[in-house]
Symmetry: C2
Subunit: 344 residues, 2 copies
DNA sequence: ACGGGGATGAGGTACGTACCTCAAAAATCC
DNA sequence: GGATTTTTGAGGTACGTACCTCATCCCCGT
C-alpha cells in the first residue's frame, strides 16, 4: 500500500494537521518541523495522491486554446483534436475551450489575454505570431496566476535553451533542414532549381524552415539552386499567376518545397503546371488533402507534427504547471515526422 | 459543475443506491429502471469520476511487462522507459513490473503466464514470438480476469483487422516497405545490389519487414537486386565472416538494410568492410549506438518506433481495459518514424 | 387478500486529501 | 515568572464514488 498522509504523520512524529500545513505550504510551522516532515517524506517515499487531493479540493482545470482564425485544414485538425481531448480527459476534470482571434493584430490578442480571469481559466495555450505585446500579456497572465504556453508557433527563439515546456511544437529550423535533406537525396545528382512556396514569409516559422532548408541544400547539394520564396497570401488566383510565371521562366525546376501549413492552394497550381508527377514535391502537415495527395503521388514526402500529440501535450503541460509538478520531458517532445505513402 | 451520482439519481427519479446498482452492473434492478437511469445518464451527460471511484475502491493497477532476456540496446531503452513510466504514473495508482524470460521457449513463457495470479496482476504486456502455447495461455489469462496485450512483436497477423488495442507496435510490413522506399529513392537510378541483414529470419517480424521491403523494391526499383537475407544470430565473429564473404562476392552492393533491432554487430562489420560511407545504410530502432551512427553518417536513415510511447500506450490500454473504458485510438497508434541526422 | 420475493430506498462507512476551528502546548518576550 | 505569541494537536466536514445493511415497497401468483 502506498503511504498516506496518516503514515506520514506517524513517521514524522507530528499530527495530521501539521502534515497538512507542510504539504500545502501553510504558515505557522517551525522550520525544524518542516524539515522533520520533509525527511519523513523521503524516508517513507510518500507521494501525494493527486486524485484524492483534487477530489477534496473539488478542483477542475479549465484550459483555453487561443488560435488564429485562418481556416486551413491543419487548424481544423487541431480543433478536432481539442474536442477529442475533451472527451478523453473528461473524466479527469479537465476541460479545454477554444478562442479564435485574428492573428494579424497583436493588440487584439493582448487585449483578449488581458481580459482573462483566473477564476475562469487556469491556463492558456497561445498560438500567435510573436510580438512584444503578446509577450508582455503572457507575463502579466502568469503574474495573475494563469499558466501559459506557446503553441505550435510564436516561440521566442527556436534553438535557444528554452525549456521544452514553454513551447509546444517542432523546431522549425530542423523541419526545414529535414525537408532539405529529403529534397537533396531524392533528386538526382545533377543541377536543377528548387522552388520554395510559402503563404507568407513574414512569420518566423516560415523563415526558420527556409533557413534550415537552405543550410542543408547549400552545404551538401551545391548543384541545386534554391529560388527566392514565392508568397501565395492564401489566394488561389495570385498563386496561379506567379507560379505559371515562375515555371515559364525556370523550366528546370526539379523540386518544389511548400513550407506553409496550407498546401492545398499551391499544390493545385503546381499539379496543373507540371506533367505527370515528374517534379519532386515536399510539403508540410498531414491533412485529408495532403494525405490524399501523398497517396496519389502528387506529393512525394510530407513533414508533419501530430496535432493530437500537440493538443494533449499542451494540456498535460498546463496541468502539470498548475499542480507544480514536473512533466515527463520525453513524452512532450514533439517529433518531426516524415511521411511517405508507405508509413501513413 | 459536472453532474454527480446524486444529480443522476435525481434526474432518473431513483435513489443513490439504485444508481449505484446500475452503474456497477449489480443485480436486482428492473430492466425498465436500468433504462431510465441510462437515459438520464445521456440526458444530463453524467460521467463517472474515475479518480473518485478508484479512491473509493482503493484500487491500484499492477501491470507486468513480459520481455525477452536478450540484451540488445532497444530492449534496454524499453526497460528504461518502463521505469520512467513508473515514476510518471506513480501518482495515479499504477505500477509496472518487468519479467524477463528466454524468448526461445514457448513452454516456459506459457507456464509463466499460467502462474500469474489475478490478485497480484491486473494486466500483462507480452513481447514474445507467436506460438500456439502462448496464444492459449493468453486466452486463459483473459478468462481468469487478467488483461493482455501483445507488445512490439508477436501479434497474430499483421495487416489484419485486429483491433489496435490488441497489438502495441508498428506494422512491420509497412516498416519494411518504408525502408524499401527510402532505399529506392536514395540510391541512384542504376543497377546495384542490396544486402539485407537480420539477426534471424525465424521471427515473423523480420519476415514481414523483408516482405514489405521486397515489395516496394520489386515494384518500383526493378534495377535493384535484393540479396538473400544474411543472419547474424547476434554473433560478431560469424557476422564478420559472412559479411566479408558476401562483400567479396558482390562488389556492387549499393545499399544495406539491417532489419533487426540490434544494428550494432552488423554495422560494425559493414563499416569496416566499406570505404568512407559510400554505401547506403538503413537500420531500425533508435538507440545510443544507432543515434551516434546516424550523426557520424555511418547510417543514412533510421526507421524507428518510440519506446516511451510503446510503454505508455501499453499501460494506458491495459488500464482502459480494466476500467472497461474505450481508449483514444489515435493516441495509441504507434507511428513508423523516419529519422535522419536533421530530425533527431 | 395474502404471502413471497424481487426491487428499491435510506443511511451508513470508507477511500486520501483539503481546509476549518478550537484548544492545548510550547516557545518567546519583557 | 507571567503574559504573549507561535506552534501543534484533535477533531470535524467535505469531495464523488463504492459497497454494505436493513427496512420497505410493489408486484406477482394464488
Amino acid at each position: 500500500m502506498r503511504p498516506t498522509t496518516k503514515d506520514l504523520a506517524k513517521a514524522a512524529g507530528v499530527s495530521l494537521a501539521t502534515v497538512d500545513r507542510v504539504l500545502n505550504d501553510r504558515t505557522g510551522v517551525r522550520e525544524d518541523t518542516v524539515r522533520r516532515v520533509s525527511e519523513a517524506i523521503e524516508k517513507i517515499g510518500f507521494l501525494r495522491n493527486i486524485s484524492a487531493a483534487n477530489l477534496a479540493r473539488s478542483k477542475s482545470y479549465r484550459f483555453l486554446f487561443l488560435l488564429p482564425r485562418s481556416g486551413d485544414q491543419f487548424l481544423a485538425e487541431v480543433l478536432a483534436k481539442i474536442s477529442e481531448a475533451n472527451s478523453a480527459f473528461g473524466s479527469e476534470a479537465m476541460r479545454a475551450e477554444v478562442a479564435q482571434i485574428h492573428e494579424s493584430d497583436p493588440h487584439q490578442i493582448a487585449n483578449f489575454l488581458e481580459s482573462l480571469n483566473p477564476d475562469t481559466v487556469d491556463g492558456v495555450a497561445i498560438m500567435a505570431p510573436e510580438s512584444p505585446q503578446v509577450r508582455d500579456a503572457k507575463l502579466r497572465l502568469e503574474q495573475r496566476g494563469i499558466e501559459t504556453v506557446s503553441f505550435i508557433s510564436g516561440q521566442i527563439r527556436a534553438g535557444a535553451d528554452l525549456a521544452a515546456e514553454d513551447f509546444i511544437g517542432i523546431d522549425n529550423h530542423a523541419a526545414g533542414a529535414t525537408a532539405g535533406r529529403l529534397m537533396g537525396r531524392f533528386l538526382d545528382r545533377k543541377p536543377g532549381k528548387v522552388l520554395v512556396i510559402a503563404e507568407t514569409m513574414h512569420a518566423r516559422d516560415s523563415l526558420e524552415r527556409r533557413l534550415g532548408f537552405d543550410e542543408v541544400i547549400g552545404a551538401d547539394y551545391p548543384y541545386l539552386t534554391v529560388l527566392p520564396s514565392l508568397e501565395t497570401h492564401g489566394e488561389a488566383e495570385r498563386t496561379d499567376r506567379i507560379l505559371s510565371a515562375t515555371f515559364a521562366r525556370n523550366p528546370d525546376i526539379a523540386g518544389v518545397y511548400i513550407l506553409s501549413s496550407e498546401a492545398r492552394v499551391p499544390l493545385q497550381s503546381v499539379t496543373q503546371l507540371t506533367q505527370a508527377g515528374h517534379r519532386l514535391v515536399i510539403a508540410h502537415e498531414r491533412t485529408p488533402f495532403t494525405e490524399a495527395a501523398l497517396l496519389s503521388r502528387q506529393i512525394d514526402a510530407l513533414i508533419t507534427q501530430d496535432p493530437g500529440h500537440l493538443v494533449r501535450s499542451a494540456l498535460r503541460i498546463l496541468r502539470a504547471r498548475c499542480d507544480r509538478r514536473e512533466v515527463l520531458a520525453s513524452q512532450e517532445k514533439i517529433r518531426i515526422e516524415i511521411l511517405f505513402a508507405e508509413n501513413l
